[in-house]
Structures are given as structure tokens and as C-alpha cells.
């Protein structure tokens, strides 16, 4: 079922975050992405949600996709020697769901494509046995095993692997996917979403966005023209890029730069969407020194091509564009809420009355940070 071809795509993205940590159900994000229906073509949609498993916040929540029962059994065998599975259950769904009045109440004409033929969707709440982390950190251990499952366990795919978060994605229009996964029943302090317009038929649920690793999630509108070198840059660090979606490089680059190399997120964004040399040369000395070094050392991580990206992680949300802003992105604030979307209308749809609306400059990160604790 996995499609081994790489699929260029156009897209819609939307994200919302409560910086005070207040949790909201999924209806708003579904309505926001539904408004940009025409930016997708029904071949992929998905959501990332943070704060959805408060009672299991200490465990890694693995959202799994299996092609068949055999793959599920093989994967569970794999888990057996690797993790302590505390709880596993079917991910609740509404098969054949469409986005319509009784779930959203506004645009019945949009929900046109019932979600059918899903893979087996199962979630596992996982602890890492202590004896496994003598030589590597717990998160490193999880990353290695996620990589291993995705490349070596046939028919099994890890859709997300973070704590207190999850990815809900599949083939279909995003608003229908949202209804299918019953997102109206989850509460999260960060929601991101993605509607896909691939120029090729993927037929594979794992290929939809968001792309997740640990608590990183990426939704991405655009194409990474530098994919070839980004992939070769990441490989020596142990990342296996086998999903053939350019979005995975973004997730891995953040994992490498922020988690492993401990760069502040703003500087990681400077590496991935670097300022131009002509501007760097005019910067004050300290800044010039820092950015010059970043470009010298992290040149292989520079993302090139048209993109707007929303990165989610457990403490916040970051939006940024490519170096010359070839894809749209609008941001807005209202009280403690931060919104980002491909179109302003997608924000106005769910928050008509805003304090501030702006289009961030090319290559500039818009950073949303938790200032409170997550509401339980």
C-alpha cells in the first residue's frame, strides 16, 4: 500500500494555539481548514493535536497505521521486546464520515467524500523500559525504533510518537478526515491541520500530513527543492528518509538542530530559512557572526523552494516561510490565541474579531510559546 514515489504537492495549512494552555475541541480547526477546501484535492488531510491525552501524558502515544492484521501482529511482536505497552486500543473513528451540518453546521456542500478504506488505526501508550536507556537517551531510543519500524516492519507505519499529542491523518479532504477521527471529541491547546493537493495519487494514508516524530509535528505547504541534499545531510546523523515525502526532512531537521544540537528554535529557523548574505553582511557584529557560522555549518540543512510551514511541539508552535516567500502565510492574534494559516479567511472563519493580523516576512519565524501550564 505504501507508495514509493515522491509526490510534489500544493496545500492548505492552518494552526491555532492557546498560549495560556487552554484546551479547545477540534471543531474550530476543522472549520478553518474546511474553508480552504479548494486548496486540497481530496487526496490527503490531517491534524496534529497537543494536550489530548492528559491522563497518559507521561507515556509516548504511538498512533499506528497497519496495512493488515499480519502487520499489526508483527509490529506488536516488535514492541514486545522494545517497549512496555501500558495500553493499546483502536483509534475511534466514524467510518464513512463526511463533514456536514450535524458535525459543523455550516458548509454541507463541502463534505462530499466519505472516508473509506482506512488502514487499521491503533494507538499504543508506551513506556521505555529503564534498562534500554543505559547508553542512549530515552528520546534517542524512541527515534531509533520509530525509524526502524517505518523502514523494517512491513505494512506498519508510525503516524506519531510524542507524549500527550497525536496525528490524525489520511486520504480524503481534511474536514472529512477530521470528522472521521472524531476530533470534535478531543481537546487540545495546539491544533494544526493540513489539506493536500498532490499532483499524483498517493493512495497511502501515511503520506498525508502532519509528519511527526517525537513531539514534533510538521504541516507544510509547498515543495522542498533542496530535498536531495537535505536528505543526504541528515542520513549520516542516523535519520532514515524512506517515506519519500519532502516534509519528513523538515521534522528531522528540527529534531537534529533543536533536540540534538540544542539550537534555540529561532536560530534553527535561521538555519533552515537563512537570511541572504547581502543582509547578513549588514548585520551588527554579534548577529553577523552567529548567522555566518550557522550558514557555514548548517548549509546542508538550508531549505530551498516554496514553502510555508507550521511546526508544532509540546511547548509551542512556530510558523515560517521560505527565504523569498513563495507560499502564502498569514498570522493573527486574539487575546492568548495565536493563529496561522495559508489564507486570512481561514482565520477569520473561526475568529472574526482579531486583535492583530499580519503577513510575516520571508524567512522570519513567528513563535508561539506556552506561558502557562497545560490545562488538565
Amino acid at each position: 500500500m505504501r507508495c514509493n514515489c515522491y509526490i510534489p504537492s500544493g496545500c492548505a495549512i492552518s494552526g491555532m494555539m492557546s498560549e495560556s494552555g487552554e484546551r479547545m475541541d477540534g471543531n474550530a480547526i476543522i472549520r478553518s481548514i474546511a474553508l480552504m477546501h479548494d486548496r486540497s484535492n481530496g487526496l490527503g488531510g490531517g491534524f496534529a493535536a497537543y494536550g489530548i491525552y492528559p491522563r497518559r501524558a507521561d507515556q509516548y502515544a504511538f498512533h499506528m497505521m497497519f496495512d493488515n492484521m499480519e502487520a499489526k501482529e508483527k509490529c506488536e511482536e516488535y514492541f514486545n521486546g522494545t517497549f512496555d505497552v501500558v495500553l493499546d486500543e483502536k483509534i475511534p473513528t466514524r467510518p464513512g464520515a463526511v463533514f456536514e451540518e450535524d458535525t459543523s453546521g455550516r458548509y454541507p456542500e463541502y463534505g462530499t467524500q466519505p472516508i473509506i478504506n482506512p488502514p487499521i488505526l491503533w494507538r499504543y501508550f508506551i513506556d521505555v523500559p529503564e534498562d534500554k536507556t543505559k547508553f542512549i537517551s530515552e528520546r534517542e531510543y524512541v527515534v531509533e525504533n520509530v525509524m526502524d519500524i517505518n523502514s523494517n516492519v512491513d505494512g506498519a507505519f508510525v503516524a506519531s510518537s510524542g507524549k500527550n499529542m497525536g496525528a490524525f491523518k489520511g486520504v480524503g479532504y481534511p474536514e472529512d478526515i477530521g470528522v472521521f477521527y472524531k476530533l470534535d471529541e478531543y481537546k487540545a491547546y495546539i491544533w494544526t491541520s493540513h489539506g493536500r493537493f498532490p499532483t499524483n495519487t498517493p493512495g497511502w494514508w501515511g503520506g498525508a500530513h502532519p509528519f511527526c516524530l517525537l513531539d514534533w509535528s510538521i504541516v507544510h505547504n509547498g515543495e522542498i527543492s533542496s530535498y536531495g541534499i537535505n536528505k543526504r545531510y541528515l542520513e549520516p546523523f542516523g535519520y532514515k528518509l524512506e517515506l519519500r515525502t519532502d516534509t519528513e526532512v523538515v521534522a528531522y531537521l528540527f529534531d537534529l538542530l533543536v533536540r540534538r544540537h540544542k539550537l534555540p528554535i529561532e536560530l534553527a529557523v535561521k538555519a533552515l530559512a537563512a537570511p541572504f548574505w547581502k543582509d547578513i553582511d549588514k548585520m551588527p557584529e554579534n548577529e553577523r557572526k552567529i548567522i555566518t557560522a550557522i550558514r557555514q555549518v548548517y548549509g546542508g540543512g538550508l531549505l530551498n523552494g516554496p514553502f510555508s510551514i507550521i511546526l508544532g511541539h509540546s511547548r509551542g508552535m512556530v510558523g515560517f516561510n521560505d527565504r523569498i516567500k513563495l507560499r502564502p502565510m498569514t498570522c493573527a492574534r486574539k487575546d492568548d490565541m495565536l493563529y496561522m494559516a495559508s489564507e486570512e479567511s481561514a482565520i477569520r472563519e473561526i475568529a472574526p474579531d482579531l486583535d492583530e493580523v499580519w503577513s510575516p516576512r520571508a524567512g522570519t519565524a513567528i513563535v508561539g510559546e506556552m506561558n502557562g501550564e497545560v490545562e488538565a
Partner: protein
Amino acid sequence: MSSQIPPEFTVIIDYDRCRRCRRCVMNCSFGCMQFKDKVVPEHKKCVACHRCVTYCPESAITIKKNELAYKENANWTPEMRQNILKQAETGGILLSGMGNPRPQQILWDHMLIDACQVTNPSIDPLREPMELRTYLGRKPNHLDFTRGENGDIELGTTLQPQVKLDVPIVFAAMSYGAVSLNAHKALAMAAKKSGTLMNTGEGGLHTDLYPYASNITVQVASGRFGVHSEYLNTSATVEIKIGQGAKPGIGGHLPGEKVGDEISRTRMIPVGTDALSPAPHHDIYSIEDLSQLIYAIKEATDYTKPVGVKISAVHNVAAIASGIVRAGADIVTIDGFRGGTGAAPMVIRDNVGIPIELALAAVDQRLRDEGIRNNTSILCAGSIRNSGDVAKAIALGADAVVIGTAALIAMGCRVCQKCYTGNCAWGIATQKPELVRRLDPQLGAERLSNLLTGWSHELQEILGSLGVNSIESLRGSRERLRGIDLDEQTLNLLGIKPAGIGQ
């Protein structure tokens, strides 16, 4: 013994047009043209350097291949037989100048570059910035940051020295001795003008070039000619030359007749003595010896300059390069089997080494597999002929490329392959004052800079069509290359897919 070798070329003078100005006679440095109430060429001496053809005011001269000098035979080609005749007459080793001219497959011509359509827009280099800036030098695998007292983020890592190139193209090592001082001056001036580097080769640095220090790579080769502390420090980078693509494993020989006053002073050898570069460095018999020399040079330059090592592309080049990086080299230059030379035994030039395309692909991949690719810069040398070659080399993984022959051609060289004779009619590969004078350094520099400017614009067009606006996004991005007419093994070695396969 009188020579039986038939002339290679026939020089035809159109006497109806000739106005007997004798310019051709004065210009021919090979003594081919004589004046006996009219111009009479001695065909045997013609090397087809085209000096006379270029300067004849009446366009009265045509040079043709001496077609039936040898009866046709696809196996015993004229070249084979000429070489045998030469050796039968002299008993010597055949020498030649310039790179391997044989028709082995040129892999650059079997690679094609991608471009954007619809899903990712191409970028117009005339409207948007398009960056070619490249830094040579060892980079760490990651950076550390600290917070200063005022809360500002500060860089915690001290980077090793980095040398900035405005274009990812540097000039190849060509020694003063092999080429003229005017050629050296032209290269240095052009390097400065275009924001890149020239390379002294192994013959030292003439004091006239000291002002160009920040655009000069000084070389330390097995003969150690002209190497002293001031020399090492009058540079942007230092290069240890282990091998040269045209003659891997072979030393060099500058005949005493070329060692005049200036060369004697620059090379620090007596006037008129032969300058012999041994095949190996006699203090480098292993990788640990190389490491000692690298660090000796780093000490001598106070760790202010990247120290590179140049090797020729031989079978085991990837493992050798890896050793060199671990030995401390900040730059590795790989010179392919088509690389040029002032003089090399023909049998070595034409039969030893491997194509640079394969060597480069192997080295870049090996260094990545070992997680040390960031620790060095790779320079790719050995017949880079145009900006397409440059783009392909960078996509295979080079940080920058090295041009020697292309630079000489820009200065006037006609690739006549007679560099070892000292008679270069274009004032390049000669020390004869009357010939050296023919090359105006200022003009040469302008032509060289023009070439780099032209290639830079073309590289920017290529980047734009690829939808990227910085050379880093092409560097090592083999995904943007496809092969045509290549077998599977070669495609695998190059790390590229065949044309027709999408992403």
C-alpha cells in the same frame, strides 16, 4: 639519424592574399615560418598553436591536418605510429603537455540537470538574489550557543579558519616555471577581482605577487621549492600537493634552462640547475607523516589558514581522502585523470588514474558515510570545461571546482600540448622574455574574470531553474541529476538515477 616522422600538419599560405609583412615569421616560436622572398613554412615544425593564423592581417594562413601522413588504419592510428617512430629515433620517454586527450567517455556529458515546472516555481536570477558564496575550510558538525550576561545569544563554538569565495571556482595549481610570471600575475589579479583563489603550484611565490596574498593558495610540494615561513604566511590557504591527476605517482622536472634569475630566487635554487620534484615527499611515507606535515604547517601559520591536501584520483581515492581528512586536512582537492600538466610522461597521463566524476562521487559519499563530510571542503579538479560541468560537480558533492586548462584557454592557450618545450607562442608556458611579453597580465586578468563572471551568471540561471537561490541547495543534491547512456553500476557509483525516473 634523420627523422622519418611525417609532419603532423600542413601549413598553407595563400600567396594571393599574403602581403609579405612577415608577422607570421616573427610570431612563430617553433621556427616553422621562414622568409625566402616569400613565406615558406616548414611543415614538420608546426604544432598548430595557431599564433600565426590569429595574427596574420590578411587571414592568409590555413593549417590542416596532414591527412594521409599515415595510411588509414583503425588500430594503428597515426598517433600510435608517430609515437613509435619518435621512440625508435630517440629511445626516450614520450612527454606531453596538457591533459589526457583520448576519447574515453566523459561522464559530465552523460549527466543532465533537473528544472522546476508548476509545483515548485523556478526563480528569476535577474530579480531575486542568487547566492554563490562558498566558504572553504573545516566546519564542526554542530554549533554551541551560550547566553551572554545581557541575555543575548552568543556563539560558543570557535570556528576554524574559513576562506570566502564569491564564486565556487578557483584557479588550479600552476607553478611559476611551468608558466610565466605574467601568467601568474594574470591569475592573481583575476582571483582578486573575482573574489576567488589562484594557486602558486610548487614553484614558490614571486615577490611581485605578495600583495595578492588573500587570494592565493601557496603550495607545498615534494621539492619544497620556495617554501619558507613568509611564503606560507603570504596566503589565504596552504596546499600540500601529494599528486596530480595528469601524473599520479610521478614527480616533476623543471629543466635548468628555464631556471633564470627570477625563478632561481623564487624557488630558492641556483640559476641553471634542474628543479626536480621527487615522486613522493621524502618525509611522507604514511598517513601519520602527512598529519605531521599538516600540523607543522598549521603551527607555522598559527592556525589562521585552512591547510589542504591535493591528491590525484586513483582507484582507492575514497579511503585515501577519508584518511586525509582525519589527518587534519581542511580542504581535499581531488584531481581526475583528465587533469592538465605542463609536462608528463604520455603513458602515465593517458593510462593512470580514474575519472574525476567517479572519484568525486565516491569521496563525497564516503565522507558522509563516516560522518566527516562537514569537516572538510572538497575541491574537484581535472577538466572542468564549462559552467554545466561546474553545476554537475557541485551537485555530486564538490564545494567548489578547480580550473586550469580552461583558465589557460581564456588567456590565449590553444591546447597545442607543447607546454613542456618552453616555446609557448602565447606567453603562457614559457620563460623566454620575448614570448612572456606577449601575455599582458592586465588583459589576461580581464579575460579570466570575464570567464568567471560568465560562468557565475550561468550557474545562477541553473540554480534559478532548479528553484533554489543558494548554492548550498545544489551542493551534494544528486537528486537533481539524472544519467543518460550509463550502465547501472556507473549510475550507482555516481549516486544518481537514470533519466526518465521521476522523484
